[in-house]
């Protein structure tokens, strides 16, 4: 049955305005978008997952495939079974709301854990984009009887180099010294740096206490990932995970296509917060700040130094 529509000029005006405003807020294809001249980030309106991200000036689509987007992950061991992850992919956000031109609010409640059922845990996040600076703030309210040991947030499910023929490295400080930089190749080679017995995919973890900054450095551009609280009261790691693996264990080459033998090829990148949040506690996560830049490692480190927390 078609609804009978009555037109009121003021309502029409308001609705039109709302439509225009919504378009400005960039709802599209079930996504909520934050965008400025430098960065574009799209979040899935249902799951809250980071679905796409682009460094606009550099035309670098750094998070590419929405279907690989992830919102977060946490681990809450059970008394009788330690392995009890909460996977963001299996949660539905109770709120994904653009609360201003440059800010999106997220909330997930009553999280479904893999082996312990629903847990009275609320995870709330705010993402802001201001002058090319994207900041991820989050709070964990743990009303469960379990300790939440770790939270992975933000979470890139599909980190990409600028192109297939490009390269990508993680650059971090050694012992917090600007002049001493460690490099870890992410693409086209990805070497496993964790005991292979303990992981299913080649993995690297880098310590934020050694380096509050991690540059995702391509040849001519990069993304500066920075822990926005120099006094974070817990340990943080930058974690990279190459799925499903490499072509050969001899050369550690990453498959060039989107698929190999039916498996999706993708590089995950996340910040792991070792919060050890006890039962019935609230924990504010250290903010994580992202910025795109043109140039090499020097430009990236200059950017970091210009905006240290």
């Amino acid at each position: 049955m078609r609804a009978k529509l009555s037109f009121c000029p003021s309502v029409v005006f308001f609705s039109l305005g709302l439509l225009i405003f919504s378009a400005g807020l960039c709802f599209a294809n079930g996504e909520i978008i934050l965008e400025d001249n430098s960065l574009l980030a799209a979040f899935d309106a249902d799951s809250g997952a980071l679905a796409r991200m682009e460094c606009k000036r550099e035309h670098w689509v750094i998070e590419r495939r929405p279907e690989l987007g992830v919102s977060f992950r946490l681990f809450a061991p059970l008394p009788e079974r330690r392995y009890n992850p909460v996977l963001g992919q299996k949660q539905r956000a109770v709120e994904v709301k653009k609360i201003s031109e440059n800010e999106v609010a997220f909330q997930w409640k009553n999280l479904i854990s893999e082996n312990g059922g629903a847990l009275p845990i609320t995870f709330t996040a705010h993402v802001t984009l201001t002058n090319g600076v994207m900041t991820f703030n989050a709070t964990l309210e743990n009303d469960s009887p379990l300790t939440v040991e770790t939270i992975d947030y933000p979470y890139f499910g599909d980190l990409n180099p600028p192109s297939r023929d490009s390269s990508l490295q993680a650059k971090t400080l050694r012992n917090n010294k600007i002049g001493a930089i460690d490099s870890d190749e992410l693409y086209p080679h990805f070497r496993n740096e964790i005991g292979y017995w303990g992981v299913s995919w080649p993995t690297k973890t880098l310590e934020a206490r050694q380096s509050p900054v991690c540059l995702l450095q391509a040849p001519d551009e990069g993304m500066c990932v920075q822990v926005g609280d120099s006094n974070a009261p817990y340990r943080l790691q930058y974690t990279f995970e190459q799925h499903p693996g490499v072509i050969s264990s001899v050369n550690s080459l990453v498959p060039r296509g989107d698929k190999i033998s039916g498996h999706t090829v993708h590089l995950e990148f996340r910040l792991c917060h070792f919060v050890f949040a006890p039962p019935h506690s609230t924990t504010n996560l250290a903010p994580v700040v992202l910025r795109c830049y043109e140039g090499g490692m020097r430009e990236g480190m200059n950017l970091y130094q210009s905006r240290q927390p």
């Binding site: 681990f75 061991p77 079974r81 330690r82 392995y83 992850p85 040991e149 770790t150 992975d152 496993n192 964790i194 005991g195 292979y196 017995w197 303990g198 992981v199 299913s200 995919w201 993995t203 973890t205 340990r235 790691q237 974690t239 499903p244 693996g245 490499v246 072509i247 050969s248 264990s249 001899v250 050369n251 080459l253 498959p255 190999i260 033998s261 498996h263 792991c272 070792f274």
Partner: protein, 679 residues
């Protein structure tokens, strides 16, 4: 003849007088000279190559002792400050030396007698010795023999040392002062360009630790000594007061060539004592393994027992003949050790037993992963019982092994990892515990087991804890062979074909563990040493032709490890397909590629216009095969293989296994292999 009797007989026949100043032993290959007063080794020369190995007489030393006087650590006895009671040439090939009432560096003399016999026979210089400790103190170590001035063949020609470890031959720069331990290798090579000195501990029983020690010394103004490098073998004998100890003989030989020639020296001696272990028939055939983990200490329970057979169907369908099952036991991989109970989180004992039986009925042998070295500190069993068998240091403090991290971010960040106490294999009570756990593996009916970390005891060398059935300290590695023998005997009662395999067992342990999981090592020394050993090499890439080509080249056994051994073989069909082709090729040319003698690069000359490797196999018929692999990722290469005095040659590849006539000029596509064979 025991050594004491030998010394007495030799003393009776000690008829040759000592020349003033020096005494020498010499044959066509080696010349060794000793100071007639101190007994110091003052000169050693490889006559075949004119390498003066020990050069400056003034730097000569013969031995050094360390006496443990309470309250006075490092109370040394320096051979250079002793006067020998006897230096007698007792035959053309033998010298007898004796030192008595040794002067200690901290003052006084100790009623200790060191008697040594040095023999030179066919280029083999052998040092025997016996120590009588009539002092009230324990003697911890004796350094003997002792080269006080290890020299290069030519100035500015560096020396390197190599030893056998974990299926390879690690190389170290002598100038950096490396220490090589007999817990890893019974020999070391001291190598220069195209020649070397082979030094061996001639005792494969591991009754005590011996270090091959290199000690670079800077120029010293205080004693006027120039910069030099000392080399000695340090025997950790821990001789109690009023005891006698016969030292393990030390043998030196010169050789010409590279490490292969050095390892040939070891091979000759090894042939006199190494007992070839039994391999069941299925393991003698060309075959491949896979590996699967069921659970970890983080209790992820990835593969319940009832799911096991679904994996097995894939293995059987793809001609995989053995599966190494990890984390099947209570506590998961590296949790709960040393228990070999099944884990209720994975299912029941009966379910697993039946799954094993069904899997093996499909032609896939189940090899159960286990560790008996450690006791998980988090278990009640440790707290209630196993602590009694743990190794402790001189201060009574427990030694620990740090554990391994699994799955969760917390463990992967080394938080909450299960630490383990180190069990003492010398303790007969612990060996009974270990045997009891091993019986549980046998009861499950598997075709074999793989003892992971069989090759070490973490940081423990000696146990000092009392009440372990012997007077401490005890050399924990000395328990490896007795325990292995007991385990083998238990297995033989149940099933003589029960396969023993281990992670990188030392060469002497390979008498019990003929299958070694070491991967493709930098140096193919095990293959070169013994054609009957099986070396497992994991393959985990999704199109891993590079690793599979190396496995063909090095005659390893394929062990498929999809998703780092957490997946199914069907997860990486490209790798599986190429692996099957390689095994089919090896089955077809088994005489060369599986049963033949591995000669590494000896016996052929290969050149190519790109990155390549090759190896040579010799069949029992004497015919040769050469495997050449193209290591270029995207570029074909042209290779020329030259075999001296070869007849007709054929070439085959995994993709084209029919042998086709060839002149030895091969076109090899990128990431591919060719086998050239004498027809």
């Amino acid at each position: 003849m025991n050594l004491t009797l030998l010394f007495r007989v030799l003393a009776v026949f000690s008829c040759l007088s000592v020349r003033a100043g020096e005494v020498s032993l010499e044959d066509g290959q080696l010349a060794a000279t000793f100071d007639a007063e101190s007994g110091a080794l003052t000169r050693l020369e490889n006559k075949s190559t004119h390498w003066v190995i020990e050069r400056r007489p003034e730097l000569g030393v013969f031995f050094k002792l360390d006496i443990l006087v309470p309250g006075e650590r490092d109370n040394y006895v320096l051979g250079s400050k002793q006067r020998a009671a006897e230096v007698e040439k007792i035959s053309d090939q033998q010298l007898r030396l004796q030192w008595k009432d040794l002067k200690m560096e901290r003052g006084g003399a100790a009623p200790i007698t060191l008697t040594a016999i040095v023999s030179l026979t066919n280029g083999e210089l052998r040092f025997d010795a016996a120590l009588e400790n009539n002092s009230p103190w324990m003697i911890s170590t004796i350094d003997y023999p002792y080269l006080g001035d290890l020299s290069s063949p030519e100035a500015d020609m560096p020396l390197q040392t190599q030893h056998l470890w974990y299926g390879s031959l690690p190389t170290q720069d002598v100038s950096k002062g490396p220490v090589i331990m007999s817990k890893q290798s019974l020999f070391c090579l001291i190598e220069s360009t195209n020649q070397g000195l082979y030094v061996e501990m001639r005792d494969a029983s591991q009754r005590y630790l011996l270090n091959f020690d290199f000690e670079p010394r800077r120029e010293s103004k205080s004693d006027g000594k120039p910069a030099h490098v000392e080399f000695h073998t340090r025997h950790f004998i821990y001789a109690h007061s009023h005891t006698s100890v016969t030292l393990a003989p030390v043998v030196m030989r010169g050789y010409q060539g590279d490490w292969h020639a050095g390892v040939d020296c070891y091979k000759q001696w090894r042939n006199t004592w190494f007992k070839e272990p039994h391999l069941p028939d299925w393991a003698r055939q060309v075959h491949s393994w896979t590996m699967l983990r069921m659970n970890t200490p983080e209790q992820d329970y990835g593969v319940p027992y009832t799911n096991f057979v679904s994996y097995a169907k894939e293995w059987a369908a793809n001609n995989v003949r053995a599966v190494q099952v990890v984390g099947w036991n209570k506590g998961g991989q590296d949790g709960g050790d040393p228990t070999q109970d099944t884990d209720p989180g994975l299912g029941t004992w009966q379910q697993f037993h039946d799954a094993i039986a069904q899997t093996q009925a499909m032609g896939v042998k189940v090899i159960l992963f286990a560790k008996l070295n450690w006791a998980d500190l988090s278990t009640a069993w440790y707290s209630n019982e196993l602590y009694k068998y743990e190794c402790a240091d001189q201060n009574g403090k427990r030694y620990e092994q740090g554990g391994y991290a699994y799955v969760t971010p917390t463990e992967l960040a080394d938080i909450g990892v299960h630490r383990r106490a180190v069990m003492d294999f010398l303790d007969p009570d612990y060996r009974r515990v270990a045997l009891g756990e091993f019986d549980k593996i046998l009861a499950l009916g598997s075709g074999g087991w793989l003892w992971d970390e069989v090759c070490h005891h973490a940081g423990v060398l000696y146990n000092w804890a009392p009440n372990h059935g012997y007077t401490p300290p005890g050399y924990v590695y000395a328990g490896d062979l007795p325990l292995s023998a007991e385990l083998r005997a238990a297995a033989d009662k149940a099933n003589p074909d029960f396969l023993f395999s281990g992670e990188g067992p030392q060469d002497w342990l390979m008498q019990y563990y003929p299958v070694s999981e070491v991967g493709v090592t930098a140096m193919p020394v095990c293959q070169y040493l013994d054609r009957h050993l099986l070396l497992l090499a994991g393959v985990s890439g999704f199109d891993d032709r590079e690793q599979l080509n190396m496995i063909l080249l090095r005659r390893c056994v394929i062990q498929y490890e999809p998703f780092l051994y957490k997946g199914r073989v069907s997860d990486f069909p490209l790798t599986l397909a190429y692996g099957k082709k390689i095994d089919a090729l090896r089955a077809r040319y088994k005489d060369f590629l599986w049963d033949g003698e591995f000669r590494d690069t000896f016996g052929a000359n290969v050149t190519a216009d790109g990155s390549f490797r090759y190896s040579v196999f010799v069949a029992d018929s004497g015919k040769r095969a050469v495997v050449v692999i193209n290591q270029e990722f995207s570029k074909p290469i042209a290779a020329r293989v030259s075999l001296s005095h070869s007849g007709q040659l054929v070439a085959a590849t995994p993709e084209r296994p029919d042998g086709r006539p060839t002149t030895g000029l091969l076109q090899i596509p990128a990431r591919s292999a060719v086998v050239l064979m004498e027809k």
